[in-house]
């Protein structure tokens, strides 16, 4: 658990960050909360000759809720999210999910940006961002660009972010209706055995809109459009839930690990989704 030697950079502004990134390309990585990157470096599984600490760069953290649009700076910690009253009002699913990430000590350091940008399929925020249909704002040498969370993830640790780009913020429209983030894990601090993010809108007795995303059940987060569609236009009765679960199971591709064999993971995913739908519908 001793990392290889690396150069430590601590720029004061984004221009400084980008300068190091442009100079060193894929030999440089930015450091946010460090909970994924630093263990990987200590295990010598990540080779990072140039580490760029973002903590002195102004303007990367903070939450704004403005006219139904939520924007969360990349360096905003999970602890900040949990404690933000306006966000809890606008998008309570963010608070519910953040409370299920690791433990308070980790949440004081862990950031939204690190969680979504690292591309770790075990992280909770990527699936949640897909569920919310969030937009990621990236900055690079050529300026800012936006990419949808649903288009961002390519494979485990592989994303649409270029080596010389930095995630600035995530933004999404405050959801309406019912919500639930349901997660099964072996213990505090563990990645999900299966997790589901569900947003449901209700019009009378009918589901008018649904968004469903699953975590740690493939090498990327899985936004299951088909699962959502299975609920829209229904009263979210047993048959509709069965259809949604079946659709979700068609979209995930879990692997066997210490959390259990594939068959169990599929079963757990189904159970977790059923519970998330029930809770979200109850709140809708």
């Amino acid at each position: 658990m001793i990392p290889a030697a690396f150069e430590y950079h601590r720029p004061k502004d984004m221009a400084g960050v980008l300068a190091v990134l442009v100079e060193h390309g894929d030999e440089a990585r930015v450091l946010a909360g460090g909970h994924s990157l630093i263990p990987m470096m200590k295990l010598r599984m990540a080779d990072v000759p140039h580490l760029i600490d973002l903590q002195d760069v102004d303007g990367l953290s903070g939450i704004t809720v403005d006219g139904g649009r939520v924007r969360i700076g990349a360096m905003t910690t999970q602890s900040d999210i949990i404690g933000h009253a306006a966000l809890a009002e606008a998008a309570p699913i963010m608070r519910e999910a953040s409370l299920q990430i690791a433990d308070p000590q980790v949440r004081y350091m862990g950031t939204v940006g690190g969680n979504v940008a690292n591309g770790d399929p075990g992280n909770d925020m990527p699936g949640l961002m897909q569920c919310l249909d969030a937009t990621f704002i990236l900055v690079g040498p050529d300026g800012e660009r936006e990419v949808q969370a649903r288009d961002f993830y390519e494979a485990a640790y592989m994303t649409d972010r270029e080596d010389d780009e930095v995630l600035l913020a995530v933004a999404f429209d405050a959801p309406s209706g019912g919500y639930a983030y349901e997660k099964q894990k072996r213990k505090i601090g563990d990645y999900a055995t299966a997790a589901a993010a569900v947003l449901l809108e209700k019009n009378g007795d009918t589901c008018s809109a649904a968004s469903i995303a699953m975590t740690n059940l493939s090498d990327t987060p899985v936004w299951s459009e088909a699962a959502g569609n299975a609920l829209v236009g229904t009263s979210v009765d047993a048959a509709a839930i069965d259809a949604a679960v079946a659709a979700m199971l068609g979209d995930i591709d879990p692997t066997q690990d210490n959390r259990g064999p594939i068959e169990f993971k599929r079963h757990a995913a189904a159970m977790i989704l059923r519970r998330a739908i029930a809770r979200a519908w109850d709140r809708a």
């Binding site: 658990m1 290889a4 099964q184 505090i188 210490n258 169990f264 079963h267």
Partner: protein, 808 residues
């Protein structure tokens, strides 16, 4: 003038036995001021790190250290070839086997030590490890002990004679080249006959999976050879510093007076720090070679993968009973997976530890136990993780066996236990497998426990839950875990207990200072048990000086008397007894001094809390403080000056703590998630020295039991790769996973121990593991489950439910 204190007030002022004295250690631990091995920094100190094998079984074709040696700051790279001329490329194990210090031609488990890099700082050492080039030729890997005994693959060529024959091992003949020993206890013929003729027989196989003690602080040492005076100082995380000194002397040839072993603060041991590891040998050699201190501290992955696992026992059992449930015989055959070397930490004559305590708390007339030790391509170890030698395995076996028998008899398992308990009047009780239980009152403890939890009410609630489940009203089942355990701790009598020929006595030396304070040194070493607190309490009561005026010191072999260390709940039963006995020697001399000062005959004074008083005239007295001063300033005819004593205590018997545990658990059948709703633990550890420390021990031991029962394991894949090498996958519970524990007690003192204490640190682990496991098994009993193996993590519970058809 001060008001004369009452007898009770004087006793309270001592903070002696029975009071909830706050731990004196905690001031430094809670402020981060402890002094652990990795805190030791010596001038010019170098750092060691290991090149480890990525393969579980491979021949080493070549090792090239040139690139590593060329790295700036690298001082040395040791391989077996460098150690061989010193005869140190192999070392003896505590189990009578030998173990490679550095890979000698082949490796036998993943993570095995191949080369030892010494560098000027820790980072350079880690970089150099990557530069050592090792060429391996992979060999067939065996991770299953049953397959190992059938395999043509020879794991230990060093243990096969040139003509292909198998020389005897340390424990007798070997049946196969991968077989280590067979150990048999009891009456095989009669037991098998009783089972053959029995009205009812229950039979099952119980696998107690491989796990690891995983102390918060990993293993490590700092070796410092002073070439001028020829003295070696070895700081380390040693649970038995004196034994380590002797072992180092025997292995290295350095005379024992020239070796000083120091165990500083230790961050938990749980058996992991009993053995001797290659890191110690390499560090000592490196310090001798370089002439400067060398530090080696393993990281978490190295700790989990290489130093001293626990358990890995396959226990096949048969139990015979009458139709009424009276047990008539017990049979057990265990296949023990010891990994690549037999490095179990057991007393010499007990290759499977005290597994023969497996008749448990029950009056079983005849029994037979056989254990076969087997080599596989896994890490060596086999230590007693928070238990006396293999006692957790034994208790798990009998407490699962009882549950399976209850199913066979269609009888309530609480009642089955009750009718088979050894009765109070049967103590001292001689067990069928050779132990003499010192004292017990099992029925009283059991009744108290069952009443406390409203056992009948719980069973009624459970029956209703099963009905609701069958009716589709709930997807949750309820398990009631019962355990009644008897431990065997306090090893042990020198006549049958030794480690490497060293008798398992222990010791205490006391010096009373002129002003009435004292220092006591012991042969044990606290790893968190709170010895500095509790041993001072024993002495306070024995010698009448306040506990706050008594310093307890352990762990420095240059100053402490010889002892065998701390593990197997032996500190209180053995060193605690030595402390009381040394205290009584102090008191005996104090009595003579008091009599002289009071101008009466020795027999005319008696001890009274903190003083000696003239019999019948309590106003005439000398306090222990006054007596202490007199010992240093009075010329007393016939009495030497000073007030000191030393005691080496050879216990006449082991002690046998016991307890009654009940766990109430809800299980989500669909996800396999368990929720411990209630845990009640009644412990009887004999005389209680510090109830607060006992409660802390119970909480800690139960938490480690919960870990083992519900998920903690060292798992291997078929290639011998460790799958659980980090705390992400190796389950270490946090406050979140831990339920509220209710503790309770009865007190049945040990009749042979000077203060009647039996030891408690391991009871909750020994009793807790089967209790949690029984709860899981019990939840599914109504649906036909007899037994399912630990660890009961989510997917395995789901699998159990699935096999029982509970997922529709």
């Amino acid at each position: 003038m001060n008001k004369e204190l009452s007898r009770e007030e004087r006793a309270d002022a001592l903070s002696g036995m029975g009071c909830k004295r706050k731990r004196v250690e905690d001031a430094r631990f809670t402020q981060g001021k402890g002094n652990y091995v990795d805190d030791i920094k010596l001038p010019g100190m170098l750092f060691g790190d290991f090149v480890r094998s990525p393969y579980a079984h491979a021949r080493i074709k070549s090792i090239n250290t040139d690139a590593a040696m060329a790295l700036d700051g690298v001082v040395a790279v040791l391989t077996a070839a460098d150690l061989a001329p010193l005869g140190l490329h192999w070392m003896p194990t505590l189990a009578g086997d030998k173990q490679m210090v550095l890979a000698d031609g082949k490796v036998l488990f993943q993570g095995q030590e191949v080369a030892y890099v010494v560098a000027k700082d820790r980072y350079i050492a880690a970089d150099a490890v990557e530069l050592v080039e090792v060429e391996y030729e992979e060999l067939d890997v065996i991770v299953d002990p049953f397959a190992s005994l059938e395999s043509d693959v020879v794991l230990r060529e060093d243990l096969v004679a040139e003509d292909g024959s198998l020389p005897d091992g340390a424990h007798g003949p070997r049946k196969h080249h991968n077989h280590i020993f067979t150990w048999e206890v009891g009456d095989k013929e009669t037991t098998e006959q009783v089972i053959g003729d029995a009205e009812v027989v229950a039979e099952d196989m119980f696998y107690y999976h491989r796990t690891h003690p995983c102390p918060l602080e990993t293993c490590g040492c700092v070796a410092s050879m002073d070439k001028v005076n020829g003295k070696l100082t070895l700081y380390g995380t040693f649970q038995a510093p004196h034994a380590i000194r002797t072992v180092v002397s025997l292995i290295s040839g350095i005379e024992e007076h020239n070796i000083r072993v120091i165990s500083p603060d230790i961050g938990g041991g749980f058996g992991n720090k009993v053995g001797a590891y290659p890191g110690y040998v390499c560090s000592v050699v490196a310090s001798i070679v370089t002439g400067v201190p060398v530090k080696w501290v393993e990281d978490r992955m190295e700790n989990l993968m290489t130093t001293a696992f626990a358990r890995d026992y396959w226990m096949k059992g048969k139990i015979a009973a009458t139709k009424e449930g009276k047990i008539t015989g017990l049979w057990c055959h265990t296949t023990a997976d010891h990994g690549g070397f037999d490095a179990c930490a057991d007393p010499t004559k007990f290759p499977a530890g005290f597994m023969n305590i497996c008749t448990g708390s029950y009056d079983i007339p005849v029994a037979y136990l056989a254990v076969d030790g087997v080599y596989t391509n896994k890490a060596p170890g086999g230590v007693s993780y928070r238990c006396s030698f293999r006692v957790t395995e034994a208790v798990y076996f009998i407490e699962r066996m009882i549950e399976v028998l209850a199913i066979e008899l269609n009888m309530d398992p609480a009642e089955l236990r009750r009718i088979n308990f050894i009765k109070k009047e049967q103590f001292p009780y001689k067990s069928a497998l050779g132990w003499e239980y010192d004292s017990g009152d099992y029925h009283t403890a059991w009744d108290k426990a069952l009443e406390a939890v409203d056992y009948k009410g719980l069973r009624a609630e459970q029956a209703q839950r099963v009905e609701d489940f069958k009716a589709g009203k709930t997807r949750s089942l309820m398990g009631i875990g019962l355990t009644f355990f008897t431990e065997i701790v306090g090893a042990g009598p020198v006549k049958n207990c030794d480690i490497l020929g060293l008798g398992m006595f222990d010791s205490c030396e006391i010096r009373i200072h002129p002003t009435g304070s004292a220092i006591a040194r012991l042969g044990t070493i606290s790893q968190g048990q709170g010895h500095a607190t509790t041993f001072a309490q024993i002495l306070a009561t024995e010698i009448g000086l306040p506990a706050d005026s008594i310093t307890i010191e352990e762990g420095d072999t240059d100053t402490a008397p010889y002892g065998l260390g701390t593990y197997g709940s032996r500190s209180t039963p053995v060193a605690g007894a030595a402390t009381a006995m040394a205290g009584r020697k102090i008191r005996a001399k104090a009595q003579m001094i008091a009599a002289y000062l009071l101008e009466v005959h020795d027999d005319d004074v008696e001890f009274d809390v903190d003083r000696f008083v003239v019999k019948g005239a309590p106003e005439k007295f000398k306090t222990m403080k006054e007596i202490a001063f007199a010992a240093y300033n009075q010329a007393i005819p016939g009495i030497e000056p000073g007030l000191e004593a030393v005691s080496y205590y050879d216990p006449p018997n082991m002690t046998y703590p016991f307890g009654a545990y009940v766990c109430v658990m809800d299980i989500d059948v669909d996800t396999g998630v368990t929720d411990i709703r209630r845990f009640y633990a009644l412990d009887d550890c004999g005389t209680r020295i510090n109830p607060m420390i006992i409660e802390g021990q119970i909480h800690g031991g139960l938490t480690e039991a919960l870990a083992v029962a519900l998920g903690q394991e060292i798992a291997y894949d078929d290639m011998g790769n460790v799958k659980t090498g980090t705390l992400m996958d190796f389950f270490l519970p946090t406050a979140w996973e831990v339920p509220n524990y209710e503790t309770d007690h009865t007190v049945t003192p040990s009749p042979h121990h000077p203060i009647g204490a039996k030891g408690v640190g391991e009871s909750p682990h020994v009793g807790g593991v089967p209790c949690f496991s029984n709860a899981v098994n019990d939840a599914f009993k109504a649906f036909g489950l007899r037994h399912t193996h630990m660890p009961h993590d989510h997917w395995r519970i789901w699998q159990t439910a699935n096999k029982l058809g509970l997922h529709g």
